[in-house]
């Protein structure tokens, strides 16, 4: 630590930081615009001016920009010095000279960094007596609204969008006083991280268009800490609501996971909670084969369930990777572990089991996104992160700068000096290798790619392991180019300080995961420190579901077949998305009775005898276990309304109703977690993912509503002028009102970022132990999988080469960031971005079958007929075809599989 003096007081500060960062960490209110903790400094806005003195004798000093001054022992400066303060106010005056002052009609109003900084500098009197500059706005797609007149030219948007996120359709144009930030022509912002512009922009140029459709001010929204339910990364979010619906999602900082950024699927997918096909009342289907449904009172539905249970010869439960840990566990408890299915078909189940095994065996435990961002050599084996775990792709995009910077350590340019570092690194990129059948959006960064069938990808992985450590078995019959690539990858990983192997279940191949594990262990055996295995899983709770060790769906089919089981309880799972329709139909028709719980109507709920309306993330408390085995709690921003209940609470009621279990054990989240901890020791730490419901600060709960919340007494006045009793919360230490503890809660309970003078999300600075560091009091969540040290040998079954096959194509799943996720696809804004169904084909294969781009291709995959237009992918190797997974209304499950072309 360095000792610095600010306004005559000495402080300890981090010498790797700049003065602005240090001052903010120390709690000073120093205004800034162009600097961002994740983007670093460029010195463009000149807002953070302070006076710096050479030494104690120096009384004149000079005005410097704090974001450009490295912290060093003996540094002396003044923030309050009048000339510096006057200059900071002048910068605001300049920036405001053309700003439209339209705060009352601006979506940013009340949480605007420009407003905050204006107040902070004290500028209040207008001297600019000229017409203001005006710009034309652009249509930028369904996510982002554009209002250029508000721009203060801080350049953050293009630095995030282009430099950080790799987007190529948002730039600064023109010059001098007419610099314009936008696309070169109107159109949808292509990058899947565009939503972060909402929080990156210090004022209202880029705002959330989905919020605009049902706008509410920040201070009028009731919010809770949540966890994104649209992939397994588990980005921390803040979900905000008003008038009973979710209005927007904001980033909730987690040092090890999402940091400052979310992907667009996570930010804009939330409106599925309010979609027309949400289930809000219990439904009965008197005749499953006919499309007749009746809405039932909960008591009536429960009565029907009691009848079903009493008539059943055996009840089995189908769990779900998108249901919470508590709900899955409650279901397993209801039906018994022998009759509990993970809800996955064998092909996915086996891959997921292999992944969990590899995570448990990883020397240091599974890696985090922060590890990925810091890695200096990366091998991606059989994953397409931009589409399967988007936020991970953003982390990997940053990693490629690490090796060039390390290699040129002599340049001594501090990491925060963004302009200098980027110009210094130029186009040089550290080693990132991608093995995936088709092209990916990280290819522009890749030092090498291997586009091949899943088994060939596994073989490459094993070859890398062998090249690192000859103790790993050799791969026979590997072609020369793959073999060269394997040695290049091995060399890069061995030379790295922080090598990382990324792998997952995307191609449903246990062999790929085993190869990734073999590589990590080979690195560890040969002495590479810090080797890291990063697991990618598809759904929010895939790992938590897998840790409950249910059986694959096919086992359940056998139990139905044998008559051991005749009744199914299906939890938040549309099994038509998991198995081909004919196979699903067989399961459904073999089950005499089906009870389904879900938040959305699906093909599966349509065929259930009884459907219970379960809460989405917005009406539920629960826990998801993310891709790194971290249990994370999400809390409901909305009190459950109507008949909606958390799935685990419904299951508890079923248990009580049918006499399977005592009700009082299941009516509170903490009791479910206690039972879970007792039954599953590995999952026991999940209880500590967040403080329990009894937790208080000074005897007070933590408010979900901001202190300035308005309309409390009038919000329901169209129904009744009597103010109702506020909803109670038996499951968390949060309250639904603005009353309660006014200080900062523990990180797991943060519902909004606010601090005096800091109304925008940049108040986050005040919630961190240091700027861009961990949350005060530690980041939330509980790691469940500690890792197993260096000794474990992974399995080494190397697949045989994929034989040539002229007759059929190997259909592999490919993924779409917008479309492959079931829930977000139901959000209208996301739905606009979903591509039309397609089958990706190599040009040579297309030619072979006489097809061109856009022509209709008919395939027979097992018993499933698939028809879609051809999309030519020149990167796809011949013999393969790519089929997007999980597309709404066009789901082709159960891949990879052989497909024959039907003419």
């Amino acid at each position: 630590m360095a000792t610095i003096t600010i306004d005559g007081q000495s402080y300890e500060a981090d010498p790797s930081a700049n003065l602005l960062q240090a001052a903010l960490t120390l709690g000073f209110d120093l205004p800034y615009f162009c600097w961002h903790p994740a983007l670093g400094s460029v010195g463009a806005c000149r807002q953070c001016a302070v006076r710096q003195y050479r030494d104690e004798e120096d009384t004149t000093g000079q005005i410097v920009m704090a974001c450009m001054v490295p912290v060093a022992d003996g540094l002396r400066c003044s923030i309050v010095e009048p000339e510096a303060a006057e200059f900071r106010a002048e910068v605001i005056e300049w920036l405001m000279s053309n700003h439209p002052h339209d705060c009352p009609v601006c979506d940013e109003g009340g949480e605007c960094h420009l407003q905050d900084m204006t107040v902070m500098t004290g500028h209040c009197k207008r001297r600019f007596r000229f017409p203001k500059r005006t710009f034309r706005n652009q249509y930028l797609g369904p996510f982002i609204n554009h209002e250029m007149n508000r721009c203060i030219q801080c350049y953050r948007c293009v630095r995030f969008y282009g430099d950080y996120a790799g987007g190529s359709d948002l730039v600064a144009m023109a010059a001098h006083n007419h610099v314009y930030f936008g696309r070169h022509e109107e159109g949808i912002l292509e990058n899947e991280f565009s939503g972060n512009l909402v929080e990156i922009c210090p004022t209202g140029v880029f705002t959330d268009k989905t919020l605009k459709h049902h706008y509410s001010r920040k201070w009028d929204m009731v919010s809770s800490p949540s966890v994104c339910s649209h992939c397994a990364v588990g980005c921390n979010t803040i979900a905000s609501t008003r008038y009973g619906s979710v209005r927007r999602i904001l980033n909730r900082y987690h040092h090890d996971i999402n940091g400052y950024f979310l992907c667009d699927r996570g930010r804009f997918g939330y409106t599925f909670t309010d979609a027309a096909d949400r289930l809000r009342r219990p439904l009965l289907h008197p005749d499953r084969e006919r499309d007749v449904e009746t809405v039932a009172e909960p008591a009536e539905a429960m009565k029907r369930i009691r009848e079903i249970f009493s008539e059943a010869t055996g009840v089995a439960g189908i769990g779900s990777p998108r249901a919470s840990l508590e709900s899955n566990y409650a279901l397993r408890n209801l039906v018994g572990s022998g009759r509990f299915s993970s809800g996955l078909p064998r092909i996915e189940h086996d891959a997921t089991t292999a992944l969990l095994e590899a995570m448990r065996n990883a020397p240091d435990g599974p890696g985090s996104l922060r590890d990925a961002e810091r890695a200096d050599a990366v091998l991606i084996l059989g994953e397409d992160p931009n589409n399967t775990a988007p936020r991970l792709a953003l982390a990997l995009r940053q990693s490629v700068r690490n090796e060039p910077i390390r290699a040129d350590a002599g340049s001594r340019i501090p990491r925060w000096h963004d302009r200098a570092i980027r110009d210094f690194v130029q186009d040089r990129k550290g080693p990132l290798f991608i093995a995936w059948p088709a092209s990916t959006r990280l290819d522009d960064l890749a030092a090498g790619t291997h586009r091949a069938a899943p088994d060939e990808i596994a073989r490459l992985g094993f070859a890398v392991a062998h090249a690192i450590d000859p103790q790993s078995p050799a791969v026979t019959d590997l072609d020369d180019s793959a073999s060269d690539l394997a040695s290049r990858i091995a060399r890069a990983l061995k030379e790295a300080d922080r090598p990382m192997v990324v792998s997952g279940t995307a191609l449903r191949s246990p062999a790929i995961i085993a190869a990734a594990a073999a590589t990590v262990h080979a690195l560890r055996r040969t002495g590479s420190g810090g080797s890291s295995f990063l697991a990618v899983a598809p759904e929010a709770n895939t790992i938590g579901d897998a840790m409950l060790e249910g059986a694959p769906l096919e086992t359940l089919e056998q139990q139905l077949e044998s008559g051991e089981v005749d009744t199914l309880v299906i939890l938040e799972n549309d099994i038509y998305r998991r198995l081909p329709a004919p196979a699903t139909d067989r399961i459904i028709s073999k089950a005499r009775r089906i009870i389904a719980l879900d938040s959305i109507a699906t093909a599966t709920t349509n065929r259930a005898d009884v459907v219970l309306p379960a809460g989405s993330f917005a009406e539920s408390d629960g826990t998801f276990v993310n891709h790194e085995g971290r249990a994370q709690r999400f809390f409901q921003p909305l009190p459950p309304a109507g008949d909606v209940l958390e799935a685990w609470r419904w299951i508890g009621r079923i248990a009580a109703e049918t006499g399977t279990s005592k009700q009082n054990e299941w009516d509170r989240l903490d009791r479910v977690l206690t039972a879970l901890a007792r039954d599953c020791p590995e999952l026991a730490p999940a209880r500590d993912a967040a403080p329990d419901a009894a937790f208080r600060a000074n005897g007070q709960r933590f408010p979900r509503a901001p202190r300035r919340f308005s309309g409390r007494t009038s919000i329901l006045s169209h129904l009744s002028v009597h103010e109702p009793k506020p909803p109670e919360d038996s499951d968390s230490p949060l309250s639904f009102t603005m009353e309660g503890h006014s200080g900062q809660p523990p990180a797991a309970l943060v519902s909004h970022y606010w601090s005096p003078g800091w109304n925008s999300s940049q108040a986050l600075n005040k919630f961190q132990s240091e700027v861009a560091g961990p949350a005060r009091g530690g980041d939330p969540g509980a790691r469940l999988i500690p890792g197993n040290g260096p000794n474990e040998r992974p399995s080494t079954a190397i697949p045989a080469p994929v034989p040539d096959d002229d007759q059929t194509l190997l259909a592999v799943p490919c993924y779409e960031v917008f479309g492959s996720d079931e829930l977000s696809a139901r959000a209208p804004a996301v739905a606009e971005r979903i591509p039309k169904p397609y089958v990706a084909l190599a040009p040579t294969d297309a030619e072979h079958h006489g097809l061109d781009s856009g022509d209709s291709l008919n395939l027979l995959i097992g018993e499933l007929r698939v028809s879609a237009p051809v999309r030519l992918d020149p990167k796809l190797p011949p013999g393969l075809c790519g089929i997007p997974a999980g597309m709404p209304g066009w789901s082709v499950p159960h891949l990879p599989a052989r497909a024959s072309v039907v003419t």
Binding site: G43, M68, L95, R129, A175, R419, A420
Partner: protein
């Protein structure tokens, strides 16, 4: 003309029969210095340039030898030489003369310099508004290459270096050396922040790079020709060699004139060399070093101490024309562009004209000049046209005061100095204009 010029760089320029072709240049002893240079050790040439104390002729007056000394030779990266021919400072037109009329002198100067710093490649960044000069230079480079002065194995020395002529596109900011480098890299010409961007260490493509003005590079040739010590004896101490002064505006004989530094005073230049203002007119003010230099009033007294401690008390006419004296008088010799204004000139209009230039040329990267230069332009324009308020005079000054020294590059000073100096030195004129009734004025001459 009472005082005769001391032409070195412009020695042959405008001589009857002298043409820009290589035959003519070689006939006049051209490329002999390059021949001498490639026989020397590169370090020896650099030492000579250092000893010569030759200062940059582009505007800042930084000693060229010292700039070269900062060159990072250990990085192992290629070294680049860039000739800054983006002559855009209003009132300056000296480099144009060299490039149009004696292009080989520049090429020889560049090749001597390139050899001295062992450059791998050299560029001439020439402004778009000089297309003919660009063509002349390209033709001259071809001629020089054909004779082994440029390109592979120069004069059998084993040293090779190409020159690429690169045209700008009408952006003044490309005269700023880091803006120029960004532009040459194919980007928007946003100046870089120093540190860490001293081009001598991290310049073009993050390689060590020397950026010198056209006139400076020509001087290098003469330094090598006569030796650093001999060069240092010309001009005055610390202000060595000759300078080309560009005189424009209200004088009878505007033009370019080369003199040793300090060899004559501003008064001699205006009255004797240039014939003074037109008959019946009187001198009102002079901008001595391109339009960004602070203006000097005709009746101003300048007192103070020079670097060597001698006290001075000068009128405008007494100021010696060199780097340090003009700096001591609170202005600068800048790019050598002397703009003379007689008593007809309305100072508000003149400043409005200058401010229009700088607001148009601000790159837009950092706040003070992007917003401040435009605001100053708007205020001065309104003052000139009518409709200003009395307080606008002080407002102008306060904006200018906040810009200077607080921007990423020196453009902040360039756009603030005119306002600061005009308003403080002609305050009455500004106040009078600002407080007159707001009716629209007609017949403006400068805006």
């Amino acid at each position: 003309m009472a005082i005769s010029e001391q032409r070195v760089i412009l020695k042959h320029v405008d001589e009857p029969g002298y043409d820009p072709g290589i035959e003519c240049y070689v006939r006049h002893g051209g490329y002999e210095t390059l021949r001498k240079a490639v026989g020397m050790q590169p370090e020896e040439i650099c030492r000579g340039v250092e000893v010569s104390e030759v200062r940059g002729r582009g505007g800042a007056g930084f000693p060229a030898g010292m700039k070269w000394k900062f060159l990072d030779r250990k990085s192992g990266k290629p070294i680049y030489l860039i000739c800054n021919a983006d002559e855009s400072e209003p009132g300056t037109f000296k480099d144009r003369q060299i490039m149009h009329k004696d292009p080989h002198q520049l090429i020889e100067g560049m090749m001597v310099s390139a050899f001295a710093i062992q450059a791998a490649l050299a560029f001439i960044y020439i402004r778009e508004e000089m297309p003919q000069a660009a063509r002349i230079l390209e033709a001259a480079i071809d001629e020089a290459r054909a004779r082994g002065f440029v390109g592979e194995d120069i004069l059998g020395s084993g040293y090779s270096c190409e020159i690429v002529v690169h045209r700008g596109a009408a952006a003044y900011i490309c005269g700023e050396e880091t803006g120029l480098i960004e532009s040459l890299e194919g980007k928007r010409a946003y100046p870089r922040i120093k540190p860490p961007y001293f081009p001598a260490a991290l310049g073009l493509y993050q390689c060590p790079t020397i950026v010198n003005n056209v006139e400076t590079l020509c001087h290098v040739k003469h330094v090598v020709a006569i030796g650093g010590e001999a060069f240092a004896r010309t001009g005055s101490p610390g202000n060595t060699g000759t300078r080309i002064w560009c005189v424009s505006g209200h004088v009878q004989r505007p033009g370019y004139y080369e003199f040793e530094c300090g060899a004559l005073t501003l008064g001699e230049m205006i009255h004797d060399v240039c014939g003074g203002v037109h008959p019946g007119r009187s001198l009102k003010a002079v901008i001595p070093g391109g339009s960004s230099a602070k203006i000097l009033r005709a009746d101003e007294r300048f007192t103070g101490k020079l670097k060597d401690g001698t006290e001075f008390d000068w009128g405008l006419n007494d100021i010696p024309l060199d780097f340090d004296s003009l700096m001591a008088c609170g202005s600068m010799s800048g790019s050598g562009g002397i703009i003379v204004m007689d008593d007809r000139v309305d100072m508000v209009e003149a400043l409005a004209n200058i401010n229009a230039f700088y607001s148009h040329e601000s790159c837009g990267q950092c706040t003070p000049c992007r917003e401040g230069s435009l605001w100053m332009k708007k205020i001065t324009k309104r003052m000139a046209e009518g409709g200003a308020r009395t307080e606008d005079t002080d407002l102008l000054l306060s904006i200018g005061d906040q810009i200077a020294g607080r921007t990423i590059c020196a453009f902040g000073e360039a756009c603030a100095w005119p306002t600061q100096s005009f308003v403080s030195k002609f305050r009455d004129e500004f106040l009078a204009k600002a407080s007159e009734d707001s009716g629209k004025r007609k017949g403006l001459r400068l805006v």
